[in-house]
């Protein structure tokens, strides 16, 4: 059960924002980073017939987005329970 006495709204919000920041960094790096800003550099690497930068823009970032949402949903559930604010 909770080690925060169940009424630590600030701590809960801090933990939430921490998780959001981590996920947004991955979100940004795989789409805007690998898919756009560094696409040219990554294109020198091949993934099968795909240049890697092109692959991130046309395939890879989408798979990562799906994984991120489910990771978020699971981790938020953990945080909810840790701070005892989950729904019944």
């Amino acid at each position: 059960m909770s080690q925060h006495g169940g009424n630590d709204a600030q701590g809960y919000w801090r933990a939430t924002l921490g998780l959001l920041t981590k996920i947004l960094i991955v979100w940004f790096v795989c789409s805007f980073g690998a898919g756009i800003l560094f696409a040219d550099a990554l294109n020198t690497i091949k993934l099968g017939g795909y240049p890697l930068g092109f692959w991130f823009a046309h395939q890879g970032s989408m798979y990562i987005f799906i994984a991120l949402i489910f990771y978020y949903a699971k981790k938020m559930g953990d945080i909810d329970r840790e701070f005892d604010v989950h729904e019944d």
């Binding site: 789409s31 805007f32 898919g35 696409a39 823009a57 989408m62 729904e87």
Partner: protein, 601 residues
């Protein structure tokens, strides 16, 4: 059975299925449309969301644009999926906890002001109507081919059917209809892709086929495509960006935050039973969306290669693309080209009078390609293909069986109709519930509210159909403008409403108006005031794309930034929101104590 009959049969059967399900779902459930998600398993809810979300722009237009743009087209793929990450984390769970079912209601309550909710309705209407213009363009394309008429006539027919569909479907629990529409459209999209991938690469999974070798050669498919298009003077497929890297960056950002700010998408997450479900249902929706979105780049590249291969035999056989006998004779062109010529969306003109079709980039900056074309006696590109027809024509280009072609027609119509209906619902709710009942005539009867909603729908269809006759761009480009408008106006206001306890009504209203105004100003400068042809005012802003080379479709992210800056500046010099509002924000942040959604003010 001939093609036209098969199309009528398949499309007719799919319509019968939707109507049948709508009647069955209505008989079996007494719950209202707004809580339809409550009793629906999360997986099915995800499918319905995906159908609601994936429109004519995704189904009909996107792969064609990617085929034209190459690598740069990836901005649609990343932009229209990446927004779900933002939606799931930044908005959906908190709006679900808030427990009202329209976006203007949230903005009105959070910013304790009817003015704020009226401004939100204005933003919502501008974005949604622009979005429907894009749908109408797509519907016009689908119907013109399906009925063998011009695309104008196609739009008129489409307007009629969308209206009947929205009025009829909007009254019932349409979730199950949308599940059926998702199934039709996803099969319609993936089956031809599987056939074509198998043909070109021997790999039945399009996502893998795109990265495989081109059958009959030792080259990767993408390498082959790169080679063919550069030789014909087009940009290299796997590296051509959309404008500049900066433009591609802000364009992708606009689509992402626009996705998170579009009211008809957000509404979907109000109907799940718990806050917990709001988080994961975005993930389920994205899985179903990604099945189409990861197939689209394969459709795009393969259709492009097939199209070049159709008019130039040297593409598949190898050898000189500029040889005389490589270009096919016009009179031997395949039937599908003749069928699409009738719609006016595919045109062939024999400029050098040699009776053959030369398809290349006559405005190329590639000196090598230009010299070769001149040497071969080519007098300009002779084939123009509207990007919006690529997906619908794709199975015909690949010479697939008739039932596959018919299935694609049904899929395109399912995509356009389900989204148009969803948008019209959002418009009618905003006008009748938030504007008329919420602000102007609080004691309006339920019947009056319903009538106002239907009139709003009809007006929206007429306006958008009329503007759809002279669309500001391809379906996907027009829809992108709608995302820019939502991104610059609604997303920042909702986000600040949740993440900033101190944001007050003055800041939010000023921010929304500033973001909406600057984005519309930039868009209208390029596309005409309210998209009316001839009213554009480019000289005033110093020429096309004058703001750091950013195109109007990509401007939403800049508008959103402007919105945030104006909001925080105004917030600093005006007084804090009242105590009870700050407590309300704290309560919204915590999942416990969520209640079922209700619509009351």
């Amino acid at each position: 059975m001939d093609l036209q009959t098969t199309i009528y049969l398949v499309v007719g059967a799919s319509f019968a299925l939707y109507i049948g399900i709508a009647i069955w779902a209505r008989a079996g459930s007494t719950s209202e449309f707004y809580v339809a998600g409550g009793g629906v398993p999360p997986v099915m809810n995800g499918m319905a969301t995906a159908a609601d979300w994936m429109s004519a722009a995704s189904f009909i237009s996107m792969a064609g644009l990617i085929a034209n743009m190459g690598y740069g087209g990836g901005l649609f793929l990343m932009g229209w999926t990446g927004g779900y990450v933002l939606l799931a984390m930044l908005l959906a769970p908190y709006l679900r906890k808030f427990g009202k079912f329209t976006v203007p209601q949230f903005i009105g309550d959070r910013f304790y002001s009817k003015t704020a909710s009226t401004v939100a309705v204005l933003c919502l209407l501008t974005a949604s109507i622009t979005y429907i213009i894009g749908q109408m363009t797509g519907v016009g394309v689908a119907f013109s081919r399906f009925l063998g008429v011009s695309s104008e006539t196609g739009i008129y027919v489409g307007m009629g059917i969308v209206f009947m569909y929205a009025v009829f479907g909007g009254m019932k629990g349409i979730t199950y209809t949308q599940v059926a529409q998702y199934i039709v459209l996803i099969f319609a999209y993936t089956i031809p892709a599987i056939f074509i991938s198998m043909n070109l690469t021997g790999n039945p999974i399009p996502q893998l086929g795109l990265g495989s070798g081109f059958t009959g050669t030792d080259m990767a498919l993408l390498t082959k495509l790169d080679q063919v298009v550069t030789e014909l003077g087009f940009g290299k497929y796997t590296t051509t960006t959309a404008g500049s890297t900066l433009n591609m960056f802000v364009y992708t950002m606009s689509l992402m935050i626009g996705t998170a700010g579009l009211p008809h998408v957000i509404m979907r997450f109000f109907t799940v039973p718990r806050v917990k479900d709001a988080r994961s249902s975005a993930g389920w929706a994205l899985i179903f969306i990604a099945i189409l979105y990861t197939t689209a780049p394969a459709v795009a590249a393969m259709a492009k290669l097939n199209l070049h291969g159709t008019v130039n035999t040297a593409v598949k056989a190898g050898g000189d693309l500029y040889a005389v006998e490589a270009s096919i004779k016009a009179e031997e062109r395949p039937d599908w080209m003749k069928r699409w010529e009738k719609t006016g969306l595919l045109k062939f003109e024999d400029k050098n009078g040699d009776g053959r079709i030369q398809y290349y980039n006559d405005k190329t900056k590639n000196a090598d390609a230009k010299a070769k074309a001149d040497a071969a006696g080519w007098k300009g590109n002779e084939l123009t293909v509207n990007a919006d027809i690529i997906v619908l024509a794709n199975p015909e280009i690949a010479l697939l069986p008739n039932w596959v072609i018919a299935l694609v027609a049904a899929g395109g119509l399912a995509a356009a109709l389900s989204t148009a209906a969803g948008l019209l619902m959002a418009i009618s709710a905003a006008v009748s519930h938030d504007l008329i009942k919420g602000v102007f005539v609080p004691n309006i009867s339920e019947k009056g509210e319903l009538l106002a909603g239907k009139i709003a729908m009809a007006v929206a269809i007429v306006i958008s159909g009329w503007l759809g006759l002279n669309p500001p761009g391809f379906a996907a480009g027009t829809v992108a403008l709608a995302f820019g408008i939502a991104a610059s106006s609604l997303f920042p206001a909702i986000m600040m409403g949740i993440f900033s306890k101190k944001m007050n009504k003055e800041g939010a209203i000023a921010g929304m108006l500033a973001g909406l105004f600057i984005t519309l100003f930039y868009v209208f400068a390029h596309k005409g005031i309210f998209f009316i042809k001839g009213t554009d005012f480019l000289p005033l802003i110093g020429g096309a794309n004058s703001f750091f080379g950013i195109t109007p479709e990509a401007f939403g992210a800049v508008g959103a930034l402007f919105n945030f800056i104006v909001a925080f500046a105004v917030d600093k010099v005006t007084k804090e929101p009242p105590e009870h509002i700050q407590h309300m924000v704290e309560a919204v942040r915590i999942p416990r104590g969520s209640k079922a959604v209700d619509g009351a003010h």
